[in-house]
């Protein structure tokens, strides 16, 4: 059976990047389609009627929605190489816990670093650094969250790295002095083609954020 894989995505979306990385790690050929989120395609609305969001992975005509669900699906459907989740159930559970932590914390708090001002901004910056520090403790002295090789948590977290420049510039703070271990991890990840090819340039992301700030009326 022909393996037809389509990814409905939006270039700056960290959630979309996760699926791009997973597909690249598995060497899967796919068709990338960039959505205009102000004018969503009929295919997107048909394939994700509940959330109407990207990313949507469409495999042989069947949709998989929600980035964490899609990454796990890619891991299981192409299980012949580069396993993203460990084989031990306890370690798998830990990986899922930390992926859930990233989902609960990084995007929403990160957004506050460019979308708020004053006291709200200061609180968000502190919360953001605190969350990254917890991730640093989890990483420990492993090269990757997955151990010697890229794993599930690495795939889930690394997309936000291309947003750090936008967070830092808008929020007027610097991440590396507070979280050197995490930044070293991120740079190590960016050496991998599956990641560097899946993430847009941080300057482009910053310009996108400036446009969003304008649209939201944030000066």
């Amino acid at each position: 059976m022909a393996n037809e894989v389509i990814l409905l995505d939006f270039w700056p979306s960290p959630f979309g990047m996760r699926v791009r990385i997973a597909l690249a790690e598995k060497g899967v050929k796919y068709e990338y389609r960039d959505e205009d989120l102000r004018n969503k395609s009929p295919l997107l609305l048909q394939m994700n009627p509940i959330h109407k969001k990207i990313p949507v992975l469409i495999h042989n005509g069947r949709p998989v929605c929600e980035s964490l669900v899609a990454v796990q699906y890619v891991d299981e459907a192409w299980n012949d190489k580069s396993p993203l989740l460990p084989s031990d159930p306890y370690q798998r559970a830990q990986a899922r816990f930390w992926a859930d932590f990233v989902d609960k914390k990084i995007y929403d708090i990160g957004k506050k670093t460019w979308a708020t001002k004053g006291e709200e901004l200061e609180a968000a910056k502190k919360e953001f650094i605190d969350a990254l520090k917890l991730l640093e403790v989890e990483l420990g002295n492993k090269p990757y969250f997955g151990g010697e090789t890229i794993g599930y948590v690495d795939v889930v977290l690394i997309p936000f790295y291309c947003w750090f420049y936008a967070y830092e510039t808008c929020g007027n703070f610097s991440i590396e002095p507070e979280c050197p271990v995490l930044i070293a991890w991120a740079k190590r990840c960016m050496q991998k083609e599956s990641i560097s090819e899946s993430l847009p340039d941080q300057q482009k992301v910053y310009e996108f954020v400036l446009m969003m700030r304008k649209n939201l009326g944030i000066e």
Binding site: Q72, Y90, R92
Partner: protein, 222 residues
């Protein structure tokens, strides 16, 4: 039977998140010790030490090793005690189950809680939100017996505990959950026929009394 190991659950009787874990353990026939936490008086040292990030129940300890977040715990239980399986064998079926579990986990209980711990206009708004979510679930269930298809599974376990809070939501929101959503009603009855579910889910009237107590405590009612 326990896979040669010590299984402890830090629990709270009214928490749907804790109920998920108990149902999963029951499905697998695993013996465990459930320790009630006093969430209002003072959380135990074990809880605070085992879940420093969120400091919440449930916390699951297998041979002393802690796991937090109910959907993560249920997944671990499924992978450690493999019979009967809670997820289908094929990747697409598993993705569908995880999608529904994710939707339910993110939306359902929060909406119920917003209805029961509010008043006036806030309750009306929360009720509208809950009804929208129930419509999605009604559609998602379709003609299937369970969210997992023919068999009770992962997504059903994630969903069923919140339903014992529906009586309270109905009374305080002034609407009838089960009357307006026949497919969900049918699904609830089918789940409650299962011993693993029936013996864990508390009486909705007791949940309603608990909610009234919380409303008083939070100053919502006098």
């Amino acid at each position: 039977m326990s896979k040669g190991g010590d299984v402890v659950l830090l629990d709270f009787w009214a928490s749907p998140f804790c109920m998920r874990v108990q149902i999963a353990l029951s499905e697998k026939g695993v013996s465990y010790e459930a320790r009630q936490e006093d969430l209002f008086g003072g959380k135990s040292e074990l809880l605070l030490k085992s879940n420093p990030i969120y400091q919440k129940v449930p916390v699951f300890l297998h041979n002393g090793k802690p796991l937090c977040e109910s959907t993560v715990i249920v997944g671990y239980i499924d992978e450690t005690w493999t019979s009967p399986p809670l997820l289908p064998p094929c990747p697409y079926g598993r993705a569908q189950a995880r999608f529904w579990a994710d939707y339910i986990d993110k939306k359902l209980f929060d909406a119920v809680r917003d209805v029961v711990l509010s008043k006036g206009e806030a309750t009306e708004a929360a009720k509208k939100e809950l009804i929208e979510i129930l419509k999605v679930l009604e559609g998602g269930l379709g003609e299937r017996d369970f969210f997992g298809g023919k068999a009770f599974g992962f997504a059903d376990i994630i969903a069923i505990p919140s339903t014992c809070w529906f009586l309270a939501a109905g009374k305080l929101g002034n609407f009838q959950v089960e009357a307006e959503f026949p497919k969900i009603s049918g699904w609830i009855k089918r789940c409650m026929h299962k011993e693993s579910v029936a013996k864990i889910i508390p009486d909705p009237e007791k949940i309603y009394e608990f909610v009234l107590m919380m409303r008083k405590m939070q100053g919502i009612d006098q």
